[in-house]
């Protein structure tokens, strides 16, 4: 838990000025030289005025922000409300959030009048997958002369969920289920691919795919784009276990990529109206049936909080509910390729990111 505080520090220019002032004051004191005294006075005066003009208790500035859910590395615009609780206005204040504005410039607030809520927009991007309950903002001002800098650290309670960064999945992964599955009975009785979209017909393409009615109405040849059917329920096993004897801290990049792949795959499958039966293998295996946005959000929250776990053998009964599914994705995020456990699943198992071990 970060503590809100205000730090008063000298800027580089202020440090140089203070050093020169100290030398001049020392010379004036030791040598009683009036010229050195004048120099010391002229150097110290702006330092003193800048010090006195600096806002006090800047950390008591109230910052309000709503919960934020974002993907790692994805830019977003945060809308904050800032209230200056002091008695005098705060001027030329830079606002930044170290966690999310590492790559983005801070926002300059020209004036913060006391007691008046002010809406501020700030660009940011959270680079690290995480779920934090507390957000830390930093207010910096060097007004008026830039010799001292006041840096206030303001910790507020606000959710920031950083989901795994989405990754680019290969076409094989995306179409693995669609091309092998039959259409579910409750959606169509016809075999074969499903209609997806229309596009312009290119010369040399198979003319059998031309959509006659749309071509006639539009006056140009329009091609039908189809794709394989998506089964109604797809299984997914997210294996967070590290291989036996491996350290938990290693394989971070693989782990993050795997979580990103899981997030991407969930989004893809959900966009195709599929239900995903997810089995998360960690210290305590859990099952999430992703049917709608709520479950999807819960699953992404789980991904945001996930971490590698030590290896534990899994009871084959855990995979019982996946046996009835015809297709299942297996994501070995912890880099443990459990070949024997794959056999516990009756359907086709497609391993994502399994080019190791």
């Amino acid at each position: 838990m970060a503590t809100s505080s205000t730090i008063l520090e000298l800027t580089l220019r202020g440090r140089v000025l203070a050093g020169l002032c100290a030398v001049a004051a020392g010379a004036a004191w030791l040598g009683e030289d009036p010229n050195a005294r004048i120099a010391a006075a002229m150097l110290a005066a702006p330092l003193l005025i800048d010090l006195l003009a600096k806002p006090r208790r800047l950390h008591e500035t109230e910052v309000r922000v709503g919960p934020r859910r974002t993907a790692a590395g994805a830019p977003f615009t945060e809308h904050l409300t800032i209230v200056n609780t002091g008695r005098s206005p705060v001027r030329e204040c830079l606002l930044l959030e170290p966690r999310t504005m590492r790559l983005d410039p801070p926002t300059l607030i020209a004036t913060l009048p006391p007691g008046v809520p002010q809406r501020v927009s700030a660009r940011g991007r959270s680079l690290q997958r995480s779920h934090v309950l507390e957000r830390v903002f930093v207010l910096v001002t060097a007004w008026p002369l830039g010799l001292f800098r006041v840096r206030a650290v303001i910790a507020i309670t606000a959710d920031l969920v950083t989901e795994p960064a989405r990754v680019q999945l290969t076409a094989n992964v995306e179409n693995a289920i669609a091309e092998q599955q039959a259409a579910p009975r409750d959606r169509t009785r016809l075999p074969g691919p499903e209609f997806h979209s229309l596009r312009e017909h290119q010369p040399g393409e198979d003319a059998r795919a031309v959509h006659a009615l749309r071509s006639a109405s539009l006056g140009t040849l329009v091609q039908r784009v189809t794709r394989g059917r998506t089964p109604r329920t797809v299984g997914m096993v997210l294996d967070l276990r590290r291989p036996p004897g491996r350290q938990l801290g290693l394989g971070t990049r693989r782990f993050e990529w795997s979580l990103g792949a899981a997030a991407t795959l969930i989004h893809l499958l959900r966009s195709r109206a599929a239900e995903v039966d997810v089995l998360v293998l960690d210290s305590e295996p859990s099952r999430i049936l992703v049917r709608g946005p709520g479950q999807e959000s819960d699953f992404l929250m789980l991904l945001a909080e996930a971490s590698p776990t030590p290896h534990l053998p899994v009871d084959p009964a855990t995979f019982e509910h996946l046996r009835r599914l015809e297709h299942c994705y297996w994501i070995p995020a912890g880099a443990f390729l459990a070949t024997r456990e794959h056999e516990a699943i009756a359907g086709t198992v497609h391993i994502i990111g399994g080019d190791f071990e």
């Binding site: 838990m1 503590t3 809100s4 505080s5 205000t6 220019r13 140089v16 004051a25 004191w29 030791l30 040598g31 009683e32 030289d33 009036p34 010229n35 005294r37 004048i38 120099a39 010391a40 006075a41 002229m42 110290a44 005066a45 702006p46 003193l48 005025i49 006195l52 600096k54 006090r56 208790r57 950390h59 008591e60 030329e92 830079l94 410039p105 926002t107 300059l108 020209a110 004036t111 009048p113 002010q118 927009s121 309950l133 001002t141 060097a142 007004w143 002369l145 830039g146 010799l147 910790a155 309670t157 305590e284 859990s286 999430i288 049917r291 709608g292 709520g294 819960d298 789980l302 909080e305």
Partner: protein, 677 residues
């Protein structure tokens, strides 16, 4: 630059103007006698041109070529147009070119560097020519404005692309107003700090703690205007030319104070080629209100002069040479044989009266004081090569009576050397040798004239010493008959002891130059609070108030209070509001296990069904055991109520899990309620 918004461009221009004003004011503060304008232009214009053309040259060799050409031209022009290289000029040619360059170029940190260099130049001007309040105030204004603009620009540049929120960004006019408003407290703070530093107890300051016995025994104590009479470096007495008021003099009979009035504060008897020292003093502490130094001579009439010491003269006692009696001094150290005075402790403003005789060098009929040899007034520096001095004396045909010898020496010095407020320069190791024997441009000021004359007098057997103090003064604007002496009137002369006359002044400095070259800031900048007020009670009250407001201890106290208020502890950190815990992962997992268990027994939670509706559904099916209800409640408290997932709630959920697993596998059918479409 072109990508910047209009407000930023105007602020850029304002910052450039402020920095330029700083530079110009700093250059204006340089004394034109020692640094002529053409010399300054020689060093600044080429560098400024280089700064201007810097942006048009891309290659390093181009810049180097340009810099060499311009700087070579600067050196040629300086040597061709300027005076011979003096110390201030050497200092100027090292600082001025980089200052002009960075001020014109204005890249990155150039503004800060330019401000620093201009401050250095300003200080050089202060050291050489004293404080000009108008220039200092103008420089303070421009510097504040420059700092303000720089601080604003840094904040704007930190945001890149000038992305800002909130109120509109201040423009150049707003910054100008802020800069003006900041200047006033800055100048007041500078004044307060200066006054505070002036009263800090310095380890090098002598004075009030010295006991009379110590004063009598020690020959190293501080006496008068400094312990040493330094001829090279440090500029000796002239280093203190800050225009500080010291003494106000009025004649007791109301007549105008003579224009050529000398006021002695100290004397030096031990000679040196670079430094004279006071020598041994025989101070006695005198507490008498009336002090008799010597009997008056019938050769001159006794005049009475009233002297009012100001705060700056708290460590000095000034008296005219030829003083017989002093009235009004409270406690003073006196060396009667040397007619030397020293206040026993620093005094505040004090009025005292001196009875003195204005004596000139007498003719041959008056003998030299017989005590002169015992006072050490005939000594010469060790290892002194007398030959060149003797050659000069012979060349000037110095001889005859004391007065004739003195006149010949003064005339010879006037012909040989010229008066200049610069240190003598030349090939010799000692300042006095450079003053007298340099091949060309033999120059110096009163200290050098007095030292040379004193040594030559001693070589001719005439005892003498050097007196230092004040000379001339300025007419008081309030009272034309009075004169005010400041530290800019510091002067040095020679004193010769005569029998019955005491020490008589012989001033070898050319009469035209005595004080004439010293720029007096007293008349222009006379501070009304320090000038004596005798007319109206109101003005007295005002003067007292101003004097009280400028008391160093009061200003120091104000500074300390301001800093203490600013830096006082700000109390503990803000009260922390614990965040509402998000649904703990363990609670969610336990809930998931409960729901799975219910699913396995045929009680699945439907899509979009909230936990509350699900529990109602279970209750309708009569499957909602109390443990299950408590488990759901515990989860809801954790998830939405901000309660911690503690052991009690975990146990509740575990009991709910066991209750879910123990339910029969075929529950009775019930109407579906609560399911969303």
């Amino acid at each position: 630059m072109s990508a910047l918004p209009a407000s930023m461009r105007s602020i850029e221009r304002l910052a450039a103007v402020a920095l330029g004003a700083c530079t110009v004011l700093a250059l204006c503060n340089l004394p034109t006698e020692e640094l002529p304008a053409r010399w300054i232009l020689c060093w600044t214009v080429p560098a400024a041109m280089f700064g201007l053309l810097f942006g048009y040259t891309r290659q390093l060799w181009q810049r180097a070529l340009l810099a060499v050409a311009l700087q070579g031209g600067a050196i040629w022009a300086a040597l061709a147009l300027g005076a011979p290289l003096s110390r201030p000029a050497a200092l100027a040619c090292t600082i001025l070119p980089p200052m002009a360059f960075v001020v014109v170029r204005r890249q990155d940190a150039d503004a800060a560097l330019g401000l620093f260099l201009s401050f250095c130049v300003l200080l050089v001007g202060v050291i050489l020519d004293g404080v000009d309040v108008a220039i200092i105030a103008g420089y303070g204004l421009a510097a504040c404005l420059c700092l303000r603009c720089e601080a604003h620009q840094q904040a704007r540049y930190a945001t890149l692309s000038s992305r800002t929120t909130g109120a509109p960004q201040p423009g150049a006019r707003a910054l100008l107003t802020t800069g003006l408003l900041l200047t006033i407290p800055c100048l007041l703070a500078a004044f307060a700090i200066d006054r505070t530093l002036s009263v800090l107890p310095s380890p090098t300051r002598g004075g009030p703690t010295v006991s009379p016995t110590e004063a009598q025994s020690s020959t190293r104590r501080s006496t008068g205007l400094g312990d040493s009479f330094v001829l090279d470096g440090g500029r000796g007495l002239l280093a203190n030319l800050t225009g500080e008021q010291l003494v106000r003099a009025t004649m007791a009979n109301g007549s105008p104070v003579p224009r050529g009035m000398y006021l002695r504060s100290n004397c030096f008897a031990v000679p040196g080629l670079d430094r004279w020292q006071p020598g041994k003093m025989d101070f006695r502490s005198v507490k008498n209100f009336e002090l008799h130094l010597r009997a008056p001579t019938p050769l001159a009439r006794v005049q009475r002069i009233e002297l009012e010491r100001y705060q700056g003269a708290r460590n000095f006692t000034f008296a005219p040479p030829g003083t017989c009696d002093l009235v009004g001094l409270e406690r003073t150290f006196v060396d009667f044989s040397r007619e030397a005075l020293q206040p026993a402790e620093p005094v505040r403003a004090e009025l005292y009266e001196a009875a003195y005789q204005d004596l000139s060098l007498p003719g041959q009929e008056i003998a030299i004081d017989g005590r002169a040899a015992s006072l050490g007034l005939l000594g010469l520096p060790n290892n002194l090569d007398r030959r060149p001095f003797e050659n000069l004396l012979d060349e000037w045909q110095v001889g005859g009576s004391t007065a004739q010898i003195a006149e010949r020496i003064a005339a010879g010095l006037g012909q040989l050397c010229r008066y200049d407020r610069q240190e003598p320069t030349g090939p010799f190791p000692h300042a006095l040798q450079n003053f007298l024997f340099a091949a060309s441009d033999r120059h110096g000021y009163c200290m050098h004239f007095a030292s040379a004359a004193a040594l030559m007098l001693r070589m001719r057997g005439i005892p003498c010493r050097i007196g230092v103090g004040l000379y001339g003064g300025d007419v008081d604007r309030q009272d034309p008959a009075a004169r005010i002496f400041g530290s800019q009137h510091a002067h040095a002369w020679v004193e010769i002891p005569f029998e019955g006359l005491g020490f008589v002044v012989f001033d070898p400095t050319p009469a035209v130059e005595r004080g004439a070259r010293m720029q007096s800031t007293l008349v222009n900048s006379a501070e009304p609070e320090l000038a004596p007020q005798h007319d109206e009670a109101d003005s007295d009250l005002l003067a007292n108030l101003v004097a009280f407001a400028t008391e160093p201890w009061l200003l120091a106290l104000l500074l300390a209070v301001a800093i203490a208020v600013r830096l006082r502890p700000q109390g503990g950190p803000r009260e922390q509001v614990l965040p509402t815990p998000a649904p703990a992962r363990n609670a969610r997992r336990l809930l998931g296990r409960i729901l799975r268990a219910l699913d396995q027994v045929g009680l699945p939670r439907r899509r979009g069904q909230t936990l509350e509706l699900f529990s109602q559904d279970l209750a309708a099916r009569q499957c909602l055991a109390a443990e299950l209800r408590d488990a759901f409640a515990a989860y809801q408290e954790v998830r939405f109520g901000g309660r911690p997932f503690d052991d009690a709630r975990e146990q509740q959920m575990l009991r709910g899990l066991s209750a879910a697993t123990s339910l029969p596998t075929t529950p009775p059918a019930a109407p579906e309620i609560g399911a969303k479409a």
